[in-house]
Amino acid sequence: MSARGATTDPLARFAVSSARRRRDRIARGTILSATLIALVPLVLIIYYLLHRGLGSWSSSLFTTDPTGNTFFKSSSIGGIKSAILGTLEIVALASAISIPIGIGVAVWLVEYGRASRFAHTVRFFVDVLTGVPSIVFGLFIYIVLIVGTGSTYAGYKGAFALALLMLPVVIRSAEVVLVLVPAALRESALALGAPRWRMISSVVLPTALAGMVTGVLLAIARAAGETAPLLFTAGATLKTSSNLGQFMNSLPVQIYSDVTSPTTAVEHRAWGAALTLVVMILIVNLIARLVSRRSRLA
């Protein structure tokens, strides 16, 4: 500051002081290192997944069921076919339940409930559900559908637990997108003489479609990776099943049981299963990204 009076250079007051330059360098360095530190575990996870997972990938991994013969030679432990198909079946049923209900709730909230007291209550409970730990959904289904009915594990019970987990995510993401649909479009449709339900089905939903698909796919991706809700609802089993009323294997549960196995070959299979799960979720996420690019909302 005092340099301003001392120097004869009229431009000196525009010069950046060296102290400020130093503070700038320190601040930049700090946030850069924070970024790098955060990257370390991410890179390591991907490295180990690829390194160990690709090593255990083979055609038989995808085409055979686990045998359960964990104490014999590694070639006889079997693959993860039942887990892959089980995950697909359970997630498909969970989606079939949660997506229509969730979008229905979101449409009601945006188009009908609006700022009513009941709508606020619904939003509050949806927010609470979003924060509930996933194991609690599993526990709830366990108490109601397994202990309550005196029956045992089944694929559809796991799907119910995942559907509960997905529901708040679907509702919230769809609601956000529906709110983005310009009010002017709703007004034009109503001013043309469209009944409210036609306005919603022919103008609002198509406009919001891409955004809603993105939100739904992210909910699916999240549900596909959950272990806790499936552990004591769908159970763990070896055989591939297309009957959702029976025990059903899934990738997260398979990984969980393989990792806890004392046999090295089985532990390796866990890496293969983990990489498979990550690739499946990655594909869903990529589709979500592609779809969101086609969105007609800003």
Partner: protein, 305 residues
């Protein structure tokens, strides 16, 4: 009221006197005493009907009051929009112009906590009457908004057909109706070779004419325009104004505008509003050159507003 209307409508359909009332099913479907087939002979020939010149319908506001919650935005307006005339509504921002026209096709009630009192008479039908179907009212009274807002997921063709598809239970061939509406809106020549392209790909002025075509396609008796040119450049504005002059031969037009030159160019009659009240209405020439009320004179000469 219901029996009177029923008999009046039967008469309308059969005679040439009011051929237009019969085209709309005013009541909600449930209490309709006549077979709906009798109510729609006009709409079957809607394609060419849109081209021929017929008298429009008058709209008469009687002690119209409108509220947003507890706030009174319109404080009792009596005003008649005559058939086949363009009436401009002018006045400073917030004076209730938009609220007023939104009351005419009952769009006002779409806003939470908003309500209207008084009567809006479309010819001799009270659009706020207890047995009146709001959907039929909006079909008969079309609306064009401030910003062009074609449906973003639809093609040009689908945008124009939207009104027909969204309202009718069954539709025959939509092509002639879409073409007639686009021709009426002066857009056919510009878009006839790309009807399948998205409506959002057109220029602002074309989009606004597309929106006008969209509201023309359902064959309305009245069109309400809420500052239709405020988002457009002067050339696009000129085209819309020419279009308004064409349309008034068969449609009653109410246009809200901030642009007093525009009111002077397009309107047969002009209404000046201030603070939720109608101050003065009369032939446009008179309102601009020899207004009866001092406030009108101050506004049109730019002393305030």
């Amino acid at each position: 009221m219901t029996p009177t209307r029923s008999s009046a409508r039967v008469a309308d359909v059969s005679s040439e006197g009011h051929p237009r009332l019969g085209r709309h099913d005013w009541r909600s479907p449930a209490p309709a005493p006549e077979p709906p087939a009798g109510a729609r002979p006009g709409s079957a020939s809607g394609g060419d009907a849109a081209v021929e010149n017929r008298p429009g319908l008058s709209v008469r506001l009687e002690q119209l009051r409108a509220f947003y919650g507890d706030a009174e935005q319109l404080r009792g307006v009596d005003l008649e929009f005559r058939p086949n005339e363009v009436t401009a509504i002018i006045g400073p921002s917030g004076c209730g112009k938009s609220t007023l026209i939104r009351c005419i096709n009952r769009m006002h009630e779409e806003i939470p906590n908003a309500r209207a009192e008084g009567r809006v008479m479309l010819d001799d039908l009270d659009v706020y009457g207890p047995s009146v179907d709001v959907v039929a009212v909006r079909r008969a009274i079309g609306m064009v908004f401030q910003r062009p807002n074609p449906f973003p997921t639809m093609s040009i063709f689908d945008n124009v057909a939207a009104g027909l598809r969204l309202t009718a239970r069954r539709n025959g061939d939509l092509r002639p109706k879409v073409e007639a509406a686009l021709r009426s809106a002066g857009l056919w020549g510009e878009v006839s070779d790309r009807l399948g392209k998205p409506g959002a790909g057109l220029s602002g002025g074309q989009q606004q004419r597309l929106c006008i075509a969209r509201s023309l396609a359902v064959d309305p008796e009245v069109i309400l325009m809420d500052e239709p040119c405020s988002a457009l450049d002067p050339i696009a504005t000129l085209k819309i104004e020419e279009l308004i002059a064409d349309l008034k031969t068969r449609i009653t037009i109410v246009i809200v505008t901030h642009n007093m030159q525009q009111a002077a160019r397009v309107a047969d009659r002009t209404a000046f509003m201030l603070d939720g009240r109608l101050i003065e209405v009369g032939p446009t020439q008179e309102i601009f050159t020899n207004p009866a009320d001092l406030r009108t004179e101050e506004y049109v000469t730019g002393k305030f507003g």
